[in-house]
């Protein structure tokens, strides 16, 4: 797996650009330095040739008929001042030294062959009073005294100027090139960022798509053309998912019909029969099966289709409806249900039917676990909660997480439930971004509290323990 940050387009581009710039800079500087030295070398050569020609011009024929070097005062002074760096030797046709600076250089060149018109180059090591290295050339020049061989040389340290120029140049480049690299990379990153902004927006839209919003598709108008195939593919995937959800919904509906009808027939047939205790038991079994089928379908629906929780719901009404619906049945079980509203409307965003379903499951549980003759208390509170309190045995601390698992039934389970009721409650609360809490009734028994976020303020969906 590639580390996450190296998968970022910006980082990748910046890294590659940086490598490219460094390599290019190195190559350019290398070429420039080579060219500079090359040019400096040819410049040196030209200068030496010029000096040789210059020296040849100042050769005159002396009164004794011998060739002599008559330098003008300024040039002589110049050579004097640089006698350690610039040296020369002039030899006549006969090989005799006409003039040399210093004399030792003249002595050195005497055995050399006569120079030709093409310059020949030489290199002197550890020569002169300062034991310097000299580079020079010998060339044959015409003078008033006939052709002369002129050897001129310059100490190798004398091209300091070229070196310092190069150093300055490299320093300038070193300054400017990294700056240029940084500026270019920043610009590139900014361009990518702004280019990817539309991608980020579309990502936000994609993140909001869920089972309840299967019809949403991502727009590709504003996107870079490189990304549109991905978006199109994602949209196609959404199409297929939406189809899958539709199939699931149909399956749920079909399953509902297929299971309910035979059960309804059995229920009605048993109702019509007259008989003894066995028939009563059968009726109870069928009632249990009916309930199980309804709960299974409820769970399947909650799994397949996200609840629409956009309606405004008054928790007082919801709780009152459940109490009204359950109270007559409770009376037949020798139990009563009492209700306390919040006195003020408790409005939340939610799905009234689903919340009623959750409260009904809690009340059914409470009635099943309460001893005969006791009262189940349903309370709506202005803090956005509905609680159902019973006088049963309560819920053990270590079972408070487990009771919400599907098909979980306690060891001391009394009722005939399938263990789906509380799983449904949890799913409903999750869809509402609320929570279910289990507490203890101060008068003995359990208190189940459904807590809803008020004003759409989101709290993480969870199941809490609450020990009071």
């Amino acid at each position: 797996m590639i580390p996450r940050r190296f998968r970022s387009l910006q980082v990748r581009l910046a890294v590659r650009l940086a490598i490219l710039y460094v390599a290019a800079t190195a190559a350019i500087i290398g070429v420039l330095i080579y060219r500079a030295y090359d040019t400096a070398g040819s410049l040196n050569e030209r200068e030496l040739s010029l000096r040789a020609a210059d020296l040849a011009r100042h050769i005159a024929v002396g009164s004794d008929g011998r060739a002599v070097l008559q330098l003008p005062a300024s040039l002589a002074a110049e050579y004097d001042s640089t006698h350690d760096t610039d040296i020369f030797a002039i030899r006549g046709v006969n090989g005799l030294v006409i003039a040399a600076l210093p004399q030792s250089f003249g002595a050195l060149t005497r055995p050399w062959p006569a120079a030709s018109d093409d310059p020949s180059f030489f290199h002197l090591k550890d020569f002169g009073s300062k034991s310097q290295d000299y580079y020079g050339l010998s060339i044959s020049e015409d003078s008033v005294a006939g052709p002369v061989s002129i050897s001129v040389a310059r100490a190798s340290g004398a091209d300091m100027l070229v070196h310092s120029l190069l150093r300055e140049f490299v320093m300038d480049i070193a300054w400017i090139i990294p700056l240029f690299v940084i500026v270019t990379i920043v610009i590139a990153v900014l361009v990518i960022r702004s280019g990817l902004r539309s991608v980020r927006e579309v990502s936000g839209m994609a993140a909001a798509i869920g089972p309840s919003t299967t019809s949403v598709r991502l727009p590709d108008e504003s996107l870079p053309s490189e990304v549109t195939p991905l978006v199109a593919a994602v949209n196609h995937a959404f199409d297929r998912l939406a189809e899958g959800f539709a199939v699931q919904r149909q399956f749920t509906a079909h399953a509902a019909h297929e299971l309910r009808t035979p059960l309804a027939i059995i229920t009605a047939a048993l109702d019509a029969m007259e008989g003894g205790e066995e028939l009563m038991k059968l009726r109870r079994d069928v009632a249990r099966m009916n309930r199980l089928v309804e709960q299974l379908l409820r769970v399947a629906r909650l799994d397949a289709v996200a609840l629409d929780v956009s309606d405004t719901v008054d928790l007082n009404d919801v709780a009152a409806n459940v109490v009204a619906a359950m109270a007559p049945w409770a009376l037949t079980q020798s139990r009563t249900i009492a209700f306390a509203d919040a006195r003020t409307p408790v409005r939340i965003k939610g799905n009234a039917n689903a919340i009623e379903d959750a409260v009904r499951n809690l009340v059914e549980n409470a009635l099943a676990h309460s001893p005969a003759g006791t009262e189940v208390m349903v309370v709506a509170k202005s803090q956005g909660s509905i609680s159902v309190a019973d006088r049963g045995p309560g819920v053990l601390l270590d079972e408070r997480e487990k009771v919400f698992q599907r098909f979980w039934r306690g060891k001391k389970s009394i009722g005939h439930g399938a263990g789906l009721g509380l799983a449904i409650v949890k799913e409903v609360m999750k869809a509402h971004r609320g929570s279910v809490r289990i507490g203890e009734n101060p008068e003995g028994g359990a208190v189940f509290t459904l807590v809803f976020p008020l004003d759409g303020a989101a709290t993480p969906a969870s199941v809490h323990n609450e020990s009071s």
Partner: protein, 225 residues
């Protein structure tokens, strides 16, 4: 008393018809919208029991069509719970009552009778709960054959409870119906009336009982159920 049962599942239709016949009704059972409309053309029904899932059309649209044609026959709708959630608004537009499947046959018969006892309903003016009967025209209440004397408000409360036998009648609804805007309403007015009513019914050995659903209202149950 003639009822029309519109239910596509033959076995259920058969069992419904049998149960309702035993309860003393004359029952026609049909399996679809078209047949139902044909039945309406040739006979007059006192009440209709309509299953919403029909093979040749939506039960709700049949309901709306009947109502738009001025047919005021009381209609009891049978539906599954999730269908209620999907179409609650539809149920409001014309059904007189609805039962969620699965239901007990006794509940269906009780609801049907309640529909027929509504003002203008075929069962006429006498409400019955246990051995208590209430003639809503003559305003006299009998337990068995003994006349029980009730005040105007006690009688009104009992009428509401008997019309919704076995179901909770919210206290707020009783307050709205019994007291005008100008009437001084004390917070314990209804409980006091209920208390008196209970004692009178008990004294006359009535077999229906008024239960309090604390915080919500009252429910009348007959002892049999």
């Amino acid at each position: 008393m003639r009822l029309l049962v519109i239910e596509d599942e033959a076995r259920i239709a058969e069992l419904l018809a049998a149960a309702l016949t035993r309860a003393g009704f004359t029952v026609d059972a049909v399996g679809g919208c078209e047949v139902a409309r044909a039945a309406f053309a040739v006979a007059t029904y006192d009440a209709v029991i309509l299953d919403l899932g029909l093979p040749d059309g939506d039960g709700l649209s049949l309901l709306q069509k009947l109502r738009s044609e001025g047919n005021q026959t009381p209609i009891l709708v049978l539906t599954a719970r999730d269908a209620v959630e999907d179409r609650v608004s539809g149920l409001d537009t014309g059904a007189d009552d609805y039962l969620i499947k699965p239901f007990a046959m006794t509940e269906l018969i009780a609801r049907t009778k309640a529909l027929l006892r509504r003002p203008g309903g075929a069962l006429g003016t006498v409400l019955v709960a246990g051995n208590i009967s209430f003639d809503t025209v003559g305003r006299d209440v009998r337990v068995g054959s003994i006349l029980v004397l009730l005040t105007r408000r006690e009688a009104a409360i009992l009428e509401h409870l008997m019309r919704r036998l076995g179901r909770v009648v919210p206290k707020t609804l009783l307050e709205e119906r019994l007291y005008g805007i100008d009437d001084e309403l004390e917070s314990n007015a209804i409980p006091v009336h209920i208390h008196h009513l209970r004692r009178k019914l008990l004294d006359a050995a009535g077999t229906a009982e008024i239960h309090t659903v604390r915080g919500l209202g009252y429910v009348l149950t007959d002892v049999e159920s």
